[in-house]
Amino acid sequence: MIVAEPKPIREILEMVRDYKKILVVGCKGCVTVCNVGGAKEVGILASILRIAAKKDNREIEVGEHTLERQCDPEYVDELKDIIDEYDAVISIACGVGPQFLSERYPETRIFPGVNTKFMGGAIEHGIWAERCAGCGTCLIHYFGGLCPIARCSKSLMNGPCGGSSGGKCEISKDVDCVWDMIVKKLMKENRLDDLLKFRPPKDWTTARDGGPRRLVREELVK
């Protein structure tokens, strides 16, 4: 899933300080799963906005709405009858959501309420870790099913570097060295030959380096 975290509340308050009618929009997709942008969090943020306004003796009106998905025009359309009542919208979906809202409702000011972090999953309750860099050409089968592009701090294709220590990355003891994991796994499977294979420079054209990406699947295009 796409993992996000709430923006500091002070930053959000600062963003919408001049607006009196604010709509908080959640998303039932990834951000609901990672407890940052679902209906529950919409309610919490709306309450915080109301309390903060009251404290400053400001009159505001805060609406709440959670869409099935903000990354889908069909669901984004759902706001068309209510959005004009508001002069600002805070989207607490991943970075895709507020952009789809901005594109669909160009007259409305849209603000992001979360910081989108990475593609990953929960490794335990309350802890998420990155797994995919979206490079566009998956090669994890060469590396024991582990991705060095996303999980090695230097994206080494021929690691591990000299900074690998006790299974940890040189940048932090909180970061596992994925190359330590790759090497140990492949050696255990007697796949030293695979480890010794030279992996050539990656073609980054399928990654963000090739420019903003777009995917067309003809069989699905109407």
Partner: protein, 311 residues
């Protein structure tokens, strides 16, 4: 046509069978070339080539190719270091061409410390290619006369290709294989991480010799003299992939006030003496960090002088 790959002094010394001795010089954190020239003068005549570090520990310094050119002007042979952190394959190849055209003949190809350690931790890193791919790219530029995209190079750069090896990093059991991989990728010589745990290094070299790697590549053992107990403790606890045995820290402490640096130098000299005799070791790489002025003394006492003369 000579049968040298690059014709560098370092290559000639190693090929002649002499025990090589390389030094290191960090470029200034500014455009102060007087400091650089002063460092260079200490090293002149004491070493066969001088590594010029590339924004080491991710701290901005004068570019390694520019500092390398100053060393050439001062009559020293640079070993131009390049890391993968700051440049993509376009910048790397163009820098290599420029460096070669200006007379640089040795290169050390490295991944580079993560920028988190340095003085611009907010920067974006590159890592378009890794050190293994850099080694291979330089080899193909030299031997095939081709850029990374297979396009022909009009006058290919003839570079003596160096790489690093850290026998003390984890996973330990893979380290000798990674060295083998670098040699296969095209490394002509290897400079190791600073060695303090001699037992572990002896074991590592035994593996190297058993695999015959020393016959395919020149291996220079890394030595960094300890200046103080504090430095030893810092290296032991703070530098990833560094193995400083407690016994060495004890020995330095035991030297007593004012005598620790001398004890550090003594240990370094003992190491060099052992490396001279160790099978598979072709030389020593002395990284006397901000201690260039002590290099002549260390070289002298370790019996490394005079350095062989090559044409």
């Amino acid at each position: 046509m000579s049968d040298y790959k690059s014709g560098s002094n370092l290559e000639k010394v190693l090929k002649s069978g002499s025990f090589a001795f390389t030094g290191e010089c960090g470029p200034p954190q500014g455009a102060n070339i007087d400091v650089l020239k002063k460092k260079a003068q200490h090293l002149k005549g004491c070493v066969d080539a001088v590594n010029v570090t590339d924004n080491q520990t991710a701290v901005v310094r004068m570019s390694s190719w520019a500092a390398s050119l100053f060393l050439i002007q001062e009559g020293l042979e640079p070993n131009y270091q390049m890391v993968c952190r700051d440049r993509n394959r376009l910048a790397m190849q163009s820098d290599i061409l420029g460096a070669y055209a200006h007379g640089i003949r040795n290169m050390l190809c490295l991944s580079g410390d993560h920028q988190k350690f340095g003085n611009h931790p907010a920067s974006k890193n590159v890592f378009d290619i890794d050190s293994m791919q850099l080694i291979n790219m330089v080899k193909n530029m030299r031997d095939e006369g081709k850029f990374q995209n297979d396009q022909e190079i009009d006058v290919p750069p003839r570079i003596f290709i160096g790489a690093a090896s850290n026998p003390f990093a984890d996973p330990t059991e893979f380290r000798v294989y990674r060295l083998a991989k670098k040699i296969n990728a095209g490394a002509d010589f290897i400079q190791t991480q600073s060695i303090y745990n001699m037992d572990r290094f002896r074991n590592f070299m035994k593996q190297v010799v058993d695999m015959g790697l020393h016959e395919k590549c020149y291996i220079l053992a890394g030595v960094t003299p300890m200046k103080s107990v504090g430095m030893a403790r810092y290296m032991a606890s703070q530098v990833p992939g560094m193995d400083v045995p407690e016994s060495l820290i004890k020995r330095l402490k035991g030297a007593g006030k004012g005598k620790v640096a001398e004890e550090g130098i003594k240990f370094a000299i003992e190491q060099i003496e052992e490396f001279k005799e160790m099978e598979g070791v072709a030389g020593v790489h002395l990284m006397a960090i901000e201690w260039e002025h002590r290099v002549p003394e260390i070289a002298e006492r370790a019996g490394m002088l005079p350095r062989p003369k090559t044409d």
